[in-house]
């Protein structure tokens, strides 16, 4: 009735296997395989030409990468709002919005990101592909991997990337009439915009930061009472992070 397998520690899927995969992918896709990056003992990235995105999916499915893990996108433009910690009363600081791509490079602001896995050979591939800046539309994977359907819907509503050949690009999460694409970096996180981030206000210096000796208001008040000073001094070591012990 049940088919069980002993949990034998499997051999690490070698980098040789990954190199072989790159070779096979290059054989199947040719020029469409723009760039690859193999981090030893870790993972394999490949960048696919925009037009061949769908063919790449088909090739991988044929190579045994049957397990569809996820599909999403990255907006490589740094956010013009930083981390949302600016004081709204001050004029916003100058920030670079220069687009710098990550692993395997690229040429466009948006990149598609996907991952498929071969459950037999225990190896996964992360795929990337440039999304054209002027017309952010990519071929759809929903016919290749059925699970890509929902992921493409999500990517569409979060990044505004269209998918040609997708049966139904309705919004997954947001209301139908929602405007804007929340995960684009130029979409402001309004909660951070309307009021300063409280975390930036009540930062206290670390106790071990002796370079900046600060007197807390409590101590000033307690100047007349020497026992309170002693109590505050005694309480001080407790405020240190437990992680400090090992540093």
């Amino acid at each position: 009735m049940t088919d069980t397998t002993e949990a034998e520690p499997q051999a690490l899927p070698g980098d040789g296997l990954r190199e072989g995969l790159v070779d096979e992918l290059r054989r199947r896709l040719g020029e469409a395989l723009v760039a690859t990056e193999l981090r030893p003992n870790d993972d394999l990235w490949v960048r696919i030409d925009t037009a061949s995105w769908r063919e790449a999916g088909e090739a991988l499915a044929a190579m045994g990468f049957e397990y569809f893990c996820y599909l999403s996108a990255i907006d490589w433009m740094p956010s013009p709002y930083g981390r949302g910690e600016d004081d709204p009363t001050e004029p916003p600081p100058e920030r670079t919005t220069e687009v710098v791509q990550g692993v395997t490079g690229g040429a466009t602001r948006f990149q598609l990101l996907a991952r498929v896995t071969d459950t037999r050979r225990h190896v996964g591939i992360t795929l990337k592909s440039d999304v054209p800046d002027d017309d952010p539309t990519m071929p759809s994977w929903s016919a290749v991997y059925a699970g890509a359907n929902w992921h493409e819907r999500e990517t569409h509503e979060m990044f505004g990337i269209g998918f040609a050949g997708h049966p139904d690009l309705r919004n997954m999460y947001l209301p139908t009439e929602f405007e804007g694409y929340p995960l684009r970096k130029d979409f402001p996180l309004l909660a951070r915009m309307v009021k300063p981030w409280p975390g930036i206000v009540d930062v206290e210096p670390m106790p071990a930061d002796e370079a900046v000796p600060t007197e807390s208001p409590d101590v000033e008040h307690a100047e007349t009472d020497s026992t309170a000073v002693a109590a505050a001094a005694a309480a001080e070591p407790d405020t240190s992070e437990p992680g400090d012990a090992s540093t």
Binding site: T4, A7, R83, G102, V103, L174, L183, F187, L189, R192
Partner: protein, 390 residues
């Protein structure tokens, strides 16, 4: 085996027939039923729109987003230690397990590794979250199928596991205990003995559920042959965890990939089931809970001594780079694709949660089944709303 797949074929044909009836002139009047967002069976706020012909589902479409909290956006304005607080709330029944892959990804980018003792304690807490999560699933399964008693057994015994988690982390639901480079603290005194006792109790609980629910004839009649997901479909939709293994795919990230956790050092069995139906999914989960208690026992035996925190800078800046780490969470494969630009916080985090993929198969598998089977199938697929919507 064969008559089960025949039944699936029949239900598919019935679905087609219901479709056809809607298209001819003598159509029976269909009915669109909204199951949720407020419904006892959706444990959360999932809404499933089903088109019914009598009691038969013509098509079904889950509608998510009632709990979308925008974590992927929020991670971009948080520092790395702050992100663990967010990801805690994705799968809220197995919170600690959500933190681990993110921390591992950050550690991978920083090229540090937690000390062995921290890895072992992480694995113990990870498996405890799995037990807490799946034991509640097993109880809830009864409620979905009309038997109320198992749910109370589940709450009774899960309490002990939550107490254990609380004794280590101080939090029952959202521990937020994992740190880059190790753990916040060491185990408390007496944890090992207490855990062994609780693991024995959980094994008894599994036996009880096996007797009361999984072995019950009515339960089997309700679940066997219902909602069959064949191997290739499961893979295509990216089903993971017990759902994938119940479809006969022998794939467990704990065994099949290398992460700096202690799973390599223990001996455990990866259970699979060839049927792919609702029963198989429940059965695999029951076996997994048993297996998890054994893993915890073994980990307690070999717990290494040493520090629980590696040397990390006080202010954590993660070097630029990209990393993908996924682990076998209670619900399935949970992974984070972390892009760093050498900043205090991540540049982009793609959260790959298990339930999103697991529930995306629903329109396919719900076609042509009856309304009670909708509940059975959804219960057996086991989703958590926070894990779908993130």
């Amino acid at each position: 085996m064969t008559d089960l797949s025949e039944r699936q074929q029949l239900s598919y044909i019935a679905g087609q027939a219901a479709d056809a009836r809607l298209n001819v002139e003598l159509e029976t009047e269909g009915m669109t039923l909204n199951i949720g967002p407020q419904h006892p069976a959706t444990h959360g706020t999932l809404r499933i729109i089903v088109r019914l012909d009598g009691e038969q589902v013509v098509w079904a479409e889950p509608s998510c987003g009632y709990m979308h909290r925008g974590y992927e956006k929020l991670t971009e304005v948080r520092t790395y230690p702050q992100v663990t607080t967010l990801v805690n709330r994705i799968d809220w029944l197995g919170s600690f397990a959500n933190e681990v892959p993110f921390i591992l990804a950050a550690e991978k980018l920083m090229e540090i590794e937690a000390p062995p003792r921290a890895q072992w304690i992480r694995t113990i807490l990870f498996e405890l979250s799995r037990i807490a999560n799946i034991s509640l699933f097993l109880g809830d399964l009864g409620v979905q199928l009309g038997a109320v008693t198992p749910a109370f057994f589940a709450f009774r015994d899960r309490e002990h596991v939550l107490n254990l988690i609380e004794s280590v982390t101080g939090g029952r639901f959202h521990p937020n205990f994992d740190r880059i480079g190790g753990l916040k603290d060491d185990l408390p005194k007496g944890f090992v003995d207490e855990t062994r006792r609780v693991m024995r109790k959980m094994r008894t609980y599994c036996d009880e559920i096996d007797d009361l629910l999984i072995g019950n004839e009515i339960f089997q009649a309700r679940t066997r042959g219902v909602g069959i997901i064949p191997k290739d479909v499961a893979l295509q939709y990216g089903l993971s965890g017990a759902n994938l293994r119940a479809s006969g795919v022998d794939w467990d990230l704990r065994r099949d990939q290398v992460v700096p956790m202690a799973w390599d050092d223990v001996d455990f069995k990866v259970w699979t089931h060839p049927d792919g139906d609702s029963f198989a999914r429940c059965w695999v989960r029951l076996q997994e809970t048993r297996e998890a208690t054994k893993i915890v026992d073994q980990l307690l035996d070999g717990l290494p001594a040493g520090p629980v925190m590696a040397k990390v800078p006080r202010i954590i800046k993660v070097p630029a780079g990209e990393a993908w780490v996924s682990t076998e969470n209670p619900l399935g494969e949970m992974g984070y694709y972390v892009v760093s630009k050498g900043d205090l916080g991540p540049f982009r985090v793609k959260i790959r949660s298990a339930s999103f993929n697991n529930i995306s198969v629903a329109p396919w598998v719900l076609r042509g089944v009856y309304v009670p089977d909708v509940i059975t199938i959804l219960a057996s697929l086991y989703f958590i709303l926070g894990d779908i919507d993130r």
